[in-house]
Amino acid sequence: MEREKLIKAMEGILGERGVIHEREQLRTYECDGLMNYRVIPDLVVLPESAEDVQRIVRICHEEGIPFVARGSGTGLSGGALPVESGLLIVMSRMRRIIEVDLENMRMVVEPGVINLHVSNEVAHENYYYAPDPASQSVSSIGGNLAENSGGVHCLKYGFTTNHVMAAEIVLADGEIVNVGGGKANDAPGYELLGAFVGSEGTLGIATKVTLKLMKKPESVRTLLAAFGDLEEAGEAVSGIIGAGIVPAAIEMMDSQTVAAVEKTVKPGFPQAEAILIVELDGPQAEVDSQFQRVYDVCETAKASEIRIAESDEQRALFWKGRKAAFAAMGSVANDYYVQDSVVPRTELSKVLKRIGELSEEHGLQVANVFHAGDGNLHPLVLYNNENEGEGERAEALAGDIVFACLEHGGSLTGEHGIGLDKKKYMPKMFTEDDMNTMQLLRCAFDPHHLCNPGKVFPTPRLCGERPGPWKMHPIQKAGLAEMF
């Protein structure tokens, strides 16, 4: 379809204000939170209802136009990066809270609703929505769903996938299906919802989401402990877990991160080689007793200082310091690259040591701030893009960190997704058979690969291909491209 005709067709569905086609305006949407990849979409459309989405997608299906859905664009792996000659479907106008059902502790929302707004909506009744990615004040539920977002509290409460009860999805052919149980649990059939959550927008577009709410815990207590090195802090983490305690959060920051945070938001953290923030929540008696144990464990692990948040303000300050860590890096480095690998917790100290070595080998600094409780690392590779070749070196270092994590039994990504950024690493973690099997699911949902194509998998098998042994991609066979 010619571009002009497509614009007309979209305007027919959405009106003029729902279609963006001027090049300068389109540039607003050329990337998501990962800014080193940029693609200007052919067209941006802003649906306001599931029916809008359905009609848009039907045209894409008929015309073979690829499309990408995008929420607030906070993703850090390029998952919402537009595709060339494709449509970008921006969901931010679909931000109605459809139903608050406190009796059943459920809320039905449109995908453009901001994560934090869900909790705010029911805060006065003492309920909340547990998944809390650091971006929760801006990221949307639809994006959270696509990425299966975590957050500092997912150690105890799980990830988005554990808190989504049902979803209405527009499939790549424009069909609308409802997956999951709705307000009732356990609908018969395959776990289509479980497969959909975290599929990074490649299986369809969620247009309505039923979320599980929770009662706010009776008590919350937070402490901050400073250590002489990362290893001692790691021992404290192991000690806490070993004591059978499941904290709501355990976060670690290294000295570089602390220094950067002190330069910017100034939470008044002690200058130490490692800082641990541990939060417990739950019934008061349980929290009080376990908090004392956590305190003792930190002391045994030779904490040089332990501070207890005595008020909500102080706790907020601890978290402000932690959540500002990424942004604060801007004050000590021109550019930085956020890694998101995971390792089994018992491998943490080995991997951190290896990251230190790699940092020296590549001659670039790496700051560490991470979810210590679940082994999800966020090494920040600091560099200056203005220095010749430093960007490439940073990427190479980031890649080596990924490989080190995989060697220690870890995963490519804990919460940011594969997106465009890490698809080249997928064959390091999965065999061709593994990925082909995942593609079967893709083919059932989206046989023509129109839905966010080119993400997650390096070279997907086409759905028409007969199952059988993997064939090398012709481009690869011709020696024109290398598959990582």
Binding site: G158, L171, P188, G189, Y190, E191, G194, P283, L441
Partner: protein, 422 residues
């Protein structure tokens, strides 16, 4: 139509091939052989063989849930996972375990208990023979799902063999992981229709130091709901909130787990919360176990067992629908369920099959209309010939068929038993 199975062909793949007996029949469908592979590669060869011969494969773990689902369309080969029964990896510090599908669930739990850990799943304690693979394939769970959710939430990785012999894994052995599609979840509850699960990885939880059950006696469905809602909407953080509803005893109970001082405080809160509803008692483990006849009905008495779900706050309605449908027809129905999850299991027993069919159909019709579901868990084959085990699917049926088609186009695996007869 009788298919003559090439047994020699199978014997070339796997050592343990035995002739099937009457005990191997599934809802009256008689398999010809039972094979016991020892490796994923052997499973792959068996599936390839079955596909080329055009025969069907029914996977079996401990066989405790062979009655679930519809009557198979065919089942020439029973693939038993019994010989793939090891714990492959358990690193307590990582709170993760990797096990072979044929490992007995109870054995895995006992091993984990020694490290003060558990897979936070408690499918009916009667299912001693249940295997990990079976628990995953049926997405089975128990009362503690209230706190920890179900199998699909606790599985973090899986290795499967597809109908075409492809061996594939997804997920891994870290708790936090979003790399690739979550096939472990897709396979959870798929009743062996998408592939054979050969390995599963789970996240673990610490074993609670102390536990106690507080129960309140109720008389009416409304009181049961009130008790459940009080517990559910409180800050007590129970591990399970259960309904026990029989002719003699009607209770709502809360399993309270924590450190000793935590349990004590929770217990006190629960007593205060519930005392206006009825007589409240604290039970120790033994008393709780003796609550009978309330363990989840498992069909061992030859009854029809249903699993009904409605939005949790409609617990009173759910009890009423199930008791109305049965009382009027002289059917005895004991109810046991995960009250705050909105799920009730009920064993219907009565001699008249017509009445049983009517009761199930009536209850299903009402429950589905209210947005829930009613699945027949266990029933005699004669009953299953008359009533579909799953009931109606939503608008996802077509997509469901496409998924099955992609993973098992030839329909080799457990044909006929799943939703919509796939």
């Amino acid at each position: 139509m009788e298919t003559k199975l090439n047994v020699q062909g199978l014997e070339g793949i796997v050592e343990n091939v035995t002739e099937a007996t009457g005990a191997d029949a599934i809802d009256g469908v008689q398999p010809q052989v039972v094979v016991e592979p020892e490796t994923a590669e052997q499973v792959a060869e068996i599936l390839k063989f079955a596909r080329s011969e055009g025969v069907s494969v029914a996977t079996r773990g401990g066989g405790t849930k062979q009655g679930w689902g519809n009557i198979p369309a065919a089942a020439e080969i029973v693939l038993s996972t019994e010989r793939m029964n090891g714990i492959i990896e358990h690193e307590p510090g990582d709170q993760v375990v990797r096990v072979q599908a044929g490992a007995k669930f109870s054995y895995v739990q006992q091993s984990l208990f020694r490290a003060n850990q558990m897979i936070a799943l408690d499918p009916s304690s009667k299912l001693k023979e249940a295997t990990v693979g079976g628990v995953v394939a049926t997405n089975d769970s128990g009362p503690r799902r209230y706190k920890y959710n179900t199998t699909r939430d606790l599985i973090i990785g899986a290795k499967v063999v597809l109908a075409d012999g492809t061996i594939a894994k997804s997920g891994g052995k870290v708790v936090k992981n979003v790399a690739g599609y979550d096939l472990g979840k897709l396979f959870t509850g798929s009743l062996g229709t998408l592939g054979v699960i050969v390995e599963a990885n789970f996240r673990l939880h610490p074993l609670p130091e102390a536990a106690r059950t507080v129960a309140v006696e109720v008389e009416t469905p409304q009181q049961a709901k009130a008790a459940m809602m009080a517990l559910w909407h409180s800050q007590v953080e129970a591990s399970a909130i259960e309904l026990h509803w029989g002719a003699e005893k009607k209770l709502v109970s809360a399993l309270l787990e924590s450190i000793p001082e935590g349990v004590e405080a929770k217990e006190e809160q629960a007593h205060v919360m519930l005392k206006s509803i009825g007589e409240v008692r604290s039970l120790n483990d033994e008393e709780y176990d003796e609550l009978g006849p309330y363990p989840r009905p498992d069909g061992s008495g030859g009854e029809v067992v249903v699993k009904a779900a409605l939005p949790p706050a409609e617990l009173d309605g759910l009890i009423e629908v199930l008791t109305n449908a049965t009382d009027r027809r002289g059917i005895t129905a004991n109810l046991r369920g995960h009250a705050a999850t909105g799920i009730i299991f009920s064993g219907f027993s009565g001699n008249d099959e017509d009445a049983l069919v009517e009761a199930v159909e009536e209850a299903r019709e009402i429950i589905v209309r209210r947005g829930g579901s009613l699945v027949v868990r266990e029933a005699p084959a004669s009953f299953k010939r008359r009533v579909d085990a799953w009931g109606p699917a939503g608008d996802y049926m077509e997509l469901t068929k496409r998924v099955k088609e992609k993973f098992d186009a030839a329909g080799t695996l457990n044909p006929g038993r799943f939703l919509g007869g796939i």
